[in-house]
């Protein structure tokens, strides 16, 4: 029993979206009232089960859990938001919107309600309005890096790469040691043709993490690309390589990346290893 609770706690901690796993772990606990063994965390478990249940379309289970939470916390705004979410899940956006607006009328700084309203807009495809609301939210809560991440993703879906890059810069300012954000920024930069910046960011990725295969692939890809661009007589207008290192340095970086990748691929099966090695030679 306790190991299921531990696993559920780990999933909450990592914020991974694994609704099927959560329900599988929680089901026996729910049936035998084992959730109460979590003590005060029991309510976190119920909330987690609720969100996973609506994610999996198990509305009846979600309703049952909601009743338990409402009984325990009759005037909670956090629980009220779950009523909004279940309305969204069954396709009643107007009811959900009303609930979130009520929450904001009671407390205009309620972040949970603000975010749900934005998520609601997004789920109905109103991207322009979603961006507008999210920008307004960020005007107030500009140190919410997850909101900047969400805005970056929204801009990417609209192919607004410079705007997406700007958002990632805000994220990185707030979370400079997280290699994942540098990775995203590197890939946006590459996609925009800012190869010198992409290289710098991929290098930062491997500096901040260990054996980052994606980072090494990025370094090799960009270093070779810059070399190719320099070798062409006619420069592609979109390619920015002015701040890129000297050819000797690029060659060394490409070589180092190759070495690290070959070492990493010792852990791969023959097919993937052979394919990667052939790619590295090309």
């Amino acid at each position: 029993m306790s190991s299921s609770l531990e696993l559920l706690a780990e999933i909450r901690q990592s914020s991974e979206r694994r609704p099927f796993a959560v329900l599988k772990l929680a089901e026996p606990l729910l049936n035998t009232r084992g959730v109460s063994r979590a003590g005060d965390d029991a309510w976190l478990v119920y909330e987690q089960v609720f969100v996973s249940a609506i994610d999996e379309g198990q509305i009846e289970l979600a309703k049952a859990v909601l009743v338990i939470l409402r009984t325990r916390f009759p005037s909670s705004q956090r629980v009220k938001r779950l009523y909004g979410m279940i309305n969204e899940a069954v396709g009643h956006p107007d009811e959900a919107k009303t609930i979130y607006k009520e929450m904001l009328e009671a407390d205009e700084t309620n972040i949970l309600a603000s975010k749900r309203l934005i998520a609601l807009l997004k789920s109905y495809g109103h991207i322009g309005e979603t961006v507008k609301q999210l920008v307004a939210y960020l005007d107030i809560h500009n140190n919410d890096f997850e909101a900047w991440l969400e805005l970056s993703n929204l801009y990417l879906t609209q192919n607004l790469y410079p705007q997406a890059a700007f958002c990632m810069e805000e994220v990185i300012m707030q979370q400079p040691a997280n290699h994942y954000f540098h990775l995203c920024y590197a890939e946006i930069s590459y996609s925009m043709g800012n190869f010198d910046l992409a290289l710098k960011e991929y290098l930062r990725v491997v500096e901040l993490s260990t054996d980052n295969v994606r980072g090494f692939y990025g370094i090799k890809l960009v270093a070779d690309r810059i070399r190719d661009i320099r070798a062409k007589p006619k420069r592609d207008q979109n390619a920015r390589i002015d701040d890129a290192p000297q050819p000797a340095t690029l060659d060394r970086l490409s070589q180092l990346a190759t070495e690290r990748l070959v070492a990493a691929y010792n852990g791969a099966n023959d097919t993937c290893k052979k394919t990667a090695e052939e790619w590295l030679k090309a």
Partner: protein, 207 residues
């Protein structure tokens, strides 16, 4: 007019990739084999479920998929995408560019958008909507899998047989998507075989 036939393995893997990340946009490639004027979609290689508009890892994956395909006497002949918003069944601008990269290496390449509404258990039609390149634009072939019987004049796109849909649905019901690993996952753990997904192939074969 070439006939495009999609096998159980290709279809099931594309659909299971969607099932593994239902809240995200997913994309991948199809491996094809061409005999006379008939193109058979033999297999699918799942690529990504994050940052799907971005190009660097797509470029690497496409190059490696080509290397792998050549080793099996196959070609990279298709691109598939399923969008985060299930109501979105048009090829987006960034997908069009990525599919164009596939077209650059295979002039017969077709782009497919997966319509999630047709992946439900009660659906009786293919969830694939083909987009064919005409005058440098991707043109939707709406209802492509529906018109005419197999081999009939109207139909350019067919599922290999009536087991294709049944197999895919069965695997989804069995939660077989846990066994599919795309290039994104491979980059986090190189021991995952994104090119073949052999365990899944076995499950598809015996479904």
């Amino acid at each position: 007019m070439s006939e495009h036939t999609v096998s159980s393995q290709a279809y099931a893997k594309a659909v299971l990739h969607c099932a593994k990340y239902p809240w995200a946009t997913v994309q991948g490639l199809f491996l094809t084999e061409t005999k006379d004027n008939k193109i058979r979609y033999i297999d699918a290689i799942p690529l990504s479920h994050t940052w799907t508009q971005l190009t660097p890892m797509f470029d690497i994956a496409l190059q490696q998929a080509q290397i792998y395909a050549a080793s099996k006497n196959l070609s990279v002949g298709g691109y598939y995408v399923a969008y985060e918003d299930p109501n979105n069944i048009q090829l987006s601008a960034s997908s069009a560019l990525l599919a164009k990269a596939v077209l650059a290496i295979n002039s017969n390449a077709v782009a497919f958008v997966i319509d999630a509404k047709h992946l439900a258990p009660e659906s009786v039609r293919s969830g694939l909507i083909p987009f064919v390149s005409v005058d440098a634009q991707w043109k939707e072939q709406a209802g492509a899998f529906d018109s005419g019987k197999k081999g009939g004049k109207g139909s350019e796109f067919v599922l290999e047989n009536n087991r294709v849909l049944v197999t895919a649905k069965k695997l989804i019901a069995e939660r077989a998507e846990a066994a599919i690993h795309d290039f994104d996952e491979h980059l986090d753990d190189v021991s995952l075989d994104w090119l073949q997904n052999p365990l899944l192939n076995e499950q598809i074969r015996t479904a």
